[in-house]
Symmetry: C2
Subunit: 226 residues, 2 copies
DNA sequence: ACATAAGCGGAGAGGTGCTTCCACTTAGGC
DNA sequence: GCCTAAGTGGAAGCACCTCTCCGCTTATGT
């Protein structure tokens, strides 16, 4: 690749961020699809080779396109993020503050169970993936607002903290093993219990909650749960 | 080792199950101690070599004494089991059925958080470790009785299922990452919420729980949570 | 059609953990 | 003190995963 620019007609192509050859672009898609499936089924730790095999390409191709596991995960869960963000927006748009709050929790927890690795990707988040950072801030803002509104509507107990949402996600994560159907049923029941406990008329002044743990969404990082 | 039994005075020794040479017995203790620490700090997946190093013995020694990781875990968590069993007994002995039920949950959850790998050992349980099986049956019986009594006392909601206790443990397991102090605080708060939801006066007939997931204590097996 | 850069796959280097083998050391009964 | 079986540690054989290098293939503009 000499700096000599006498003829650059060749490498021109679509020039955009997707300036890939047609076949390469196609392969990229296949890899993403394969990774999506593999992550969902086996968790984010699946060997890169397994993804490559499933995609029908060599490992080298995989690595060329996504130099790090992180970059692959980031890309794969991009739309999952979008879905998650949409969930927040929907919740915020709901005129019934409590219903918004409630369905938000229910939906996110279901997502978490159905697609293993989603949480890991979203919250465990590789610290330096910029987009994640942005999304997370956005998420945190939405959650705060949802909480505020649900309290204002007089349905959410006053001693509920935004950090408790992290608590829910972490707890729900513990549920996400075993066959999806079972896990989903378990998750639904757990969430139902928790939502009942979160309602204002269930707070018992004679029996106050222990202080909230200092948990931010980023505390799901050290995912070492086994 | 010729079958010739002309002089068997040698290999006699204490003959009991602990018929080990003094130094070997000593090493065995050191291994157990090291394993206990390692499991608690790093989880049950710590490399065998790490345990050996910490114990100041060679890997071979470790493997000779505990041919499988399972056998080591079984041995290490034996007393932890005893503690757990005692918790059940205490709970059953409490004249206040609800208090018994409640403190049982609180204590077990705390144990689960403080000593990672405890759950894994106890519930994930290697299917064939006989003692575990027995302990688990015993545990299940105790839990059933505790549940029954708490309901009879009119404090525990009627639609609570014994399987929900598994739910609590699984949820709590999701909490157990991060520094112990934080995890403990989080766990305490989660448990408090759940206990409130479990009380009879919080059940809302207009808003029934989703059906319980078919979870037995043994469903914590496929521990792949990450 | 052809030249050329882009793309490709597989082999293999390097790292980590599990488990076994084997030559050496040592406890402990005589 | 001596002898022997019991015990020991480290090295080596596997298996698995990550990531890179390199010679071959193929799309694509002219």
């Amino acid at each position: 690749m000499p700096a000599n620019s006498s003829r650059l007609s060749h490498a021109a192509a679509p020039a955009g961020p997707t300036g890939l050859r047609a076949d390469a672009r196609h392969n990229r898609e296949r890899i993403l699809q394969a990774a999506r499936e593999a992550f969902a089924e086996l968790g984010i730790d699946v060997p890169m080779a397994a993804i490559a095999r499933r995609a029908g390409v060599g490992v080298a191709t995989l690595y060329r396109r996504f130099p790090t596991r992180e970059s692959l995960v980031t890309e794969v869960f991009a739309d999952q993020f979008a879905a998650c963000a949409k969930t927040f927006d929907d919740a915020l748009a709901d005129p019934d503050a409590w219903r918004g709050f409630r369905t938000m929790i229910e939906k996110v927890c279901a997502m978490q169970v159905v697609d293993r690795g989603f949480t890991a990707a979203f919250l465990t988040a590789f610290p330096d993936a910029i987009d994640y950072e942005r999304e997370r801030t956005r998420a945190e803002r939405g959650l705060t607002e949802l909480t505020r509104r649900a309290k204002a509507a007089g349905r959410l107990r006053a001693d509920f903290e935004v950090a408790d949402l992290t608590l829910v996600l972490m707890a729900n994560r513990g549920i996400a093993s075993g066959p999806t159907e079972t896990a989903l049923a378990a998750s639904r029941r757990l969430v139902a219990y928790l939502l009942q406990a979160f309602q204002v008329d269930h707070a018992d002044p004679a029996d106050p909650l222990p202080p909230p743990a200092p948990l931010g969404l980023d505390h799901l990082r050290n995912a070492q749960v086994r």
